[in-house]
């Protein structure tokens, strides 16, 4: 997608050149049985000052895509082609060693799920924060603690108590917030949150979303949220992208994508989502199963096996992107619909 030059809005969101530019990214898992495609030819832009959401079922490739922004794909995954460019740092996928470690942490902060115990159970939280800082060359412990305290206060937590706690003494919601502190400790300006509210109850989820909103605004970050829960994306994000079987099938401003979904998968997702509004009789479960890596169609549209609108043409060629007013989607059939 070409760079856009929109004027700055009143809130100060600058949407000039994207802060993170993913171009034609393709990642596959190399196994003795052949390559299993995890991410295919993905183009995505993340803009400074905007929260972007990435929605997809398990196995859609969204976590792999997020990890590739850090060049941290676990083996046997491998980047086949494509690039991930940061505003200032060049192609992350070409970096190794010290240069790569610098990007991870100081440029990009990654927050794991609360349920993944990514905190060391044997060390207190404060000590781990210091470890993170020191491993990136920050020697000033006082400064690190001060920053940590400020962040924890912003999140409505008792900083003293949290810093001296062990991981198991904190609730899920608190661990998630600590995860965000870790990611922002080194003043990164890109923040990636992987399923930040899965395994949290409704109130904790609302609190975490509020915190992300606040932190994002105060620090003018570029934020990416990954979730299988469209309601979280729909509430929090300015832009959203929908992934299926390793491809971005629809992307655009959230309000536009939700109000006028153009890809059959997005439409199916919205009809299949339990909601507090809307007629429950109209809800339809998604037919079929989420694709597994070995059964993704290699030719034609990846969604075709589950698509109600599929035509014979969908079996042969992959649909190209159609762009309508900053709203991008990949479907032959719906592209022909009159607006």
């Amino acid at each position: 997608m070409a760079a856009r030059t929109e004027p700055e809005t009143q809130t100060g969101t600058d949407s000039g050149i994207a802060a993170v530019r993913v171009r034609d990214l393709t990642v596959a898992f190399r196994t003795p049985e052949g390559d299993l495609p995890a991410v295919s030819h993905v183009n995505l832009d993340l803009f400074r000052g905007q929260i972007t959401g990435l929605v997809g079922e398990s196995g859609s490739g969204k976590s792999t895509l997020a990890l590739s922004l850090l060049n941290a794909i676990p083996s046997p995954g491998q980047v086949i082609e494509g690039s991930v460019e940061l505003g200032n740092g060049g192609n992350v996928l070409a970096l190794r060693g010290r240069a790569l470690r610098k990007v991870r942490g100081t440029d990009i902060g990654y927050v794991f799920q609360a349920s993944q115990n990514s905190l060391n159970p044997l060390k207190r939280v404060g000590k781990q924060l210091l470890d993170v800082g020191r491993s990136h060359g920050e020697r000033d412990s006082r400064e690190l603690i001060r920053r940590a305290r400020d962040l924890l206060d912003d999140m409505g937590l008792d900083a003293t108590r949290v810093l001296s706690s062990y991981q198991h003494e904190l609730s899920g919601g608190m661990r998630q917030r600590v995860g965000i502190v870790f990611a922002l400790l080194l003043n990164a300006n890109v923040l990636i949150l992987d399923e930040p509210t899965t395994a949290l109850d409704m109130l904790s989820q609302a609190q975490v979303l509020e915190i992300v909103r606040k932190v994002h605004a105060t620090r003018h970050l570029t934020t990416l949220i990954i979730s299988h829960d469209i309601s979280v994306i729909g509430d929090l994000c300015d832009r959203m992208a929908v992934m299926y079987a390793g491809r971005v099938v629809e992307e655009g401003p959230t309000a536009s994508v939700l109000a006028t979904p153009r890809h059959p998968y997005t439409r199916a997702l919205l009809t299949a989502m339990p909601r507090i509004t809307g007629d429950i009789a109209e809800a339809r479960a998604l037919p079929g199963r989420p694709p597994d890596l070995s059964s993704i169609p290699r030719e034609g549209c990846v969604f075709q096996p589950r698509c109600a609108l599929a035509t014979p043409g969908c079996l042969e060629t992959e649909p190209p992107d159609t762009i309508e007013d900053d709203h991008r989607f990949a479907c032959f059939v719906t592209a022909a619909e009159t607006r």
Partner: protein
Amino acid sequence: MITGQGITRTFPGRGSMLRREPVRALRGVDFTIPDHGAVSFIGESGCGKTTLGRILCGFEEFDGGDLIIDGQSMKALSAKDRAPYFRRIQMIHQDPYSALNPTRTIRQILSDPLELRARQTGAATGWVSDRRAELLGLVGLDPDYVLPRYPHMLSGGMRQRVVIARALTVDPQVLVADEAVSMIDVSLRLGILQLLQDLRSKLGVSLLFITHDVATARYLGADGELYVIYRGSVVEQGGTDTIIQHPAHPYTQCLLSAIPVLRGIEQPGKDRLIPLAPLDERSQPPGCLFAPRCPQAAEDCTAAVPELALSGDAVQGSVTHKHACLHPQTRSVVATATA
């Protein structure tokens, strides 16, 4: 029909030998699960709803009050005599993975209870495999695909369906779904919810749905009942739709405010309550337990625990709307569809 009267449960606390404070998980809960009914328990994590579900299935003892199953008081029976009653109530766990034995195939998992049944009822040979196929068909699974596999070879949604099929092997009257869809992708939840609703209409089982996600409670079928539980007490109860549209208790209003709002297709309720600080399980406030976090707490709220009383709304069919707030305020908190 199942009735709970004043169910109380206190756990001996954790902590050092010197300062072990007991945790009052349930403080006198009354509820009724009518035949063919659909009841939901809503609340944050730690509110006691899971404990209540486990007590109903016989996995947990209750310290006070009584549980009456089909007219028989459980308090009056010995543990051994209770077993046949509790067998009529089957649990669908939250984690479909840990609910299935990883070392056994689905065929074996389903055959175990069926063979026991066959021996007890003197069924003909072949009954077991017929019934097995029948149950798998009821839950929407293909027996040829599923039977030879181990649990880890199936997706989360499929596993949950196997768990439901297993629960049905003993012809239960009540299915207790404890966060049964929380660990499944949002796009697949509707399938399970509709399955439960189907079973309710086809087989006449009652459903007890324990969840923190109010939106899912809507999908269990018409005339569902909702109980809102806060720290071991029921603070509001009534018809699902009534409570969602006209919540009386401020805690219910907070829970409903926390539901994410989809941009472009929904608008937030105009009186949405701000998310609160995390719950402090150790605090023991006098009077109303919610008072410390309540936006409208008054003097008399800390004097005594408010009773659960009929609200101003009239009786609706067989369901009455009750709440336990001395100073309820009407607030419009739930999102509404954008016209």
